[in-house]
């Protein structure tokens, strides 16, 4: 026996996937910061990234700007652009993590966060809130609440008919989603076609324009918590992807993990709708792109998805603002952008789906 320290490390140990963590996540953070700087700088009154950085340095107590310009930039950046940028980061990260977690827990790379009906339920909730002439707060609360109710209905159907098996969960989600889609149609039908109906339809296309900084900050607490919780459960999700019996034999409390993951992912989905309406495709495609970058291991995939999703939605929002004079709903942009990206990813990712 040689001394333990003298034993050579086999070359194969050196390039385990963990090596990738050290470089990939900081790169994605850089990408996000750069995108955020561009987003803060662009608008009707364009600012350079240097201007934006100078403002934040001043705000941090390092006076690089004269007071007058500081006040101008404060108004522009903090009051007008920051809420929107913050909302894009939160919603993008939340949708991407929620999608990646759903794909892991359902062992299916084609699953989106709406699998259990959360977005359908939230859409119905928001429309109902508007129909009853609700305040903005009521619309948000109703969207959030109905999103959770829709998933609860799906889980109850799954428990009642199949002891919560995966197939019954999917079926429960389809039934619940269809139910709330039908209820949404009822709301649209009875809504006043001149005022309420257009408002509902436009809202459902998604927008980050009307996000208030207080809303964004408040929502960031549960969102951040759920994202961190899901990232922490990454290694359990890897075991879960192998099958229930195998995961249990590897010491994973399968049922509890599944429900907690579904709970966190649902919370994320419902919060995004209440903040910004329906924004499709992010939860489906971002995890795929992340998987191409960092492999399928969830411990790295989930944080990478969060960072990538945030950058993606910031870029989509930039496009939504820049393409035309009056901005287009961001949900349309993500759909138009998402389909070609998905087709590209499909070519590369198809191999692993046998």
């Amino acid at each position: 026996m040689t001394r333990p320290l003298a034993r050579p490390v086999p070359p194969s140990v050196a390039d385990t996937p963990r090596r990738g963590t050290l470089t990939l996540l900081p790169m994605l953070v850089l990408l996000l910061v750069a995108t955020a700087l561009v987003a803060l700088g662009s608008g009707r009154y364009p600012l350079s990234a240097a201007d934006v950085l100078r403002f934040f340095a001043s705000a941090a107590g390092w006076p690089l700007l004269d007071p007058e310009r500081y006040d101008l930039l404060y108004n522009l950046l903090v009051e007008i652009r920051l809420p929107r940028v913050l909302a894009a980061i939160l919603v993008g990260a939340a949708l991407a993590v929620s999608g990646a977690a759903f794909q892991g827990v359902f062992r299916n790379p084609l699953v989106s966060p709406n699998l259990l009906g959360v977005l359908s339920g939230a859409a119905f909730g928001a429309a109902a809130g508007m129909l009853f002439g609700g305040s903005w707060l009521l619309v948000q609360a109703s969207a959030f609440g109905c999103g959770l109710i829709a998933v609860a209905v799906a889980l109850m159907i799954a428990r009642a008919f199949g002891q919560g098996s995966l197939v019954m969960l999917v079926l429960g989600g389809i039934i619940s989603g269809a139910l709330f889609a039908a209820l949404l149609s009822v709301i649209k039908y009875v809504a006043d076609p001149y005022n309420e109906l257009p408002a509902i339809v436009i809202w459902l296309m998604g927008s980050l324009a009307s996000v208030d900084i207080r809303d964004a900050l408040w929502v960031s607490i549960p969102m951040g918590g759920a994202i961190v919780a899901l990232c922490a459960a990454g290694r359990w999700l890897d075991a879960l992807a192998m099958g229930d019996d195998e995961a249990r034999s590897l010491g994973v409390p399968v049922t509890a993990v599944r429900y907690v993951v579904i709970g966190c992912a649902t919370l994320l989905g419902a919060l995004t709708v209440s903040l910004a309406g329906m924004i499709g495709w992010v939860g489906l495609i971002v995890p795929h792109v992340a998987r191409l970058l960092c492999g399928p291991g969830h411990a790295l995939l989930l944080p990478a998805s969060a960072l990538l999703g945030a950058s993606f939605l910031l870029a989509a929002d930039l496009l939504a603002r820049a393409l035309t004079d009056s901005e287009i709903p961001i949900g349309i942009v993500t759909e138009l952008l998402g389909i070609p990206v998905f087709l590209l990813v499909l070519r590369r990712a198809r191999k692993g789906w046998s």
Binding site: G243, S249, G295
Partner: protein, 262 residues
């Protein structure tokens, strides 16, 4: 029978499914160093027995103990460090590398929230070396052949650090060469002190590679003992309703040849 260290022991297991007794008073012991082949017709209760032994199903009566400690009192993680499950070859939904799949075997050791330690990684590499799949370590599990996947799953079980391996039809889906090489591999593991319980549909394999054979028939263990004693043409007839003759090679190896079917 004297209590053996590290043995998994089931006594008078009863398991019902919709009033039907799937297991009806099963006694079975798996000790380190054993290769126990479990034979039974389709529907005899083999899978149910396996799942009970792994703690995945709770029997309606009877007890299972590991080293004389009831299985039900052990946590899942503690159990996972003692007993490993090698499932039938399957497809994974995501293209994990072989090293990542084997690395999952360390989950019961480092827990879900900590990154694998140096010791965990060394255990993974040791398991990969032991199965001789170092060349595959970076390949995606989804692109491997059935035999290579089975070796990966066994390596994962070894990485778990468990001394008892429970295998569900380890040779199913493998070609003849891979079947024989796998059986040989199992014998070497048993010689290293691992206890192996495998279900099989091949009486020949039980004859060739097992230290004990148990016959499960209609939820009961009909016979349990050395292969040469248990595997008689009469026993095969009772189990599968097939008449067989046993042929002996000059080297003393046996094989069953069918002589008639009802």
């Amino acid at each position: 029978m004297a209590a053996q260290r590290g043995a998994l022991r089931a006594s008078r297991l009863l398991f019902r499914r919709a009033q039907r007794k799937v297991l009806d008073g099963v006694d079975l012991t798996l000790a380190p160093g054993d290769i126990l082949a479990l034979l039974g017709a389709n529907g005899a209760g083999k899978t149910t027995l396996l799942r009970c032994l792994l703690g995945l199903l709770r029997p309606h009566a009877g007890g299972i103990s590991l080293d004389d400690v009831p299985l039900a009192t052990l946590s899942r993680r503690a159990l996972a460090r003692r007993i490993a499950y090698v499932p039938q070859v399957h497809a994974a939904p995501f293209p994990y590398s072989v090293r990542e799949v084997v690395g999952l075997g360390r989950l019961p050791h480092h827990g879900p929230f900590a990154a694998p330690s140096e010791a965990d990684r060394a255990a993974v590499e040791a398991a990969i070396d032991q199965l001789g799949i170092g060349a595959l370590a970076k390949r995606p599990y989804t692109e491997l052949s059935g035999g290579e996947r089975q070796l990966t799953l066994i390596a994962r079980a070894l990485a778990q650090g468990a001394r008892l391996l429970i295998m569900d039809e380890p040779v199913s889906g493998l070609d003849f060469g891979h079947q024989m090489r796998l059986l040989e591999r199992l014998e070497r593991l048993a010689a290293d002190g691992y206890g192996i319980l495998k279900t099989t549909h091949h009486p020949d394999h039980a004859l060739a590679c097992a230290s004990r054979v148990a016959l499960l028939h209609e939820g009961r263990i009909e016979a349990d003992g050395p292969p040469a004693e248990v595997l008689s043409p009469q026993a095969i007839r009772r189990l599968y309703r097939v008449d067989v003759e046993i042929l002996r090679s000059p080297a003393g190896r046996g094989a069953f040849v069918p002589a008639g079917v009802d």
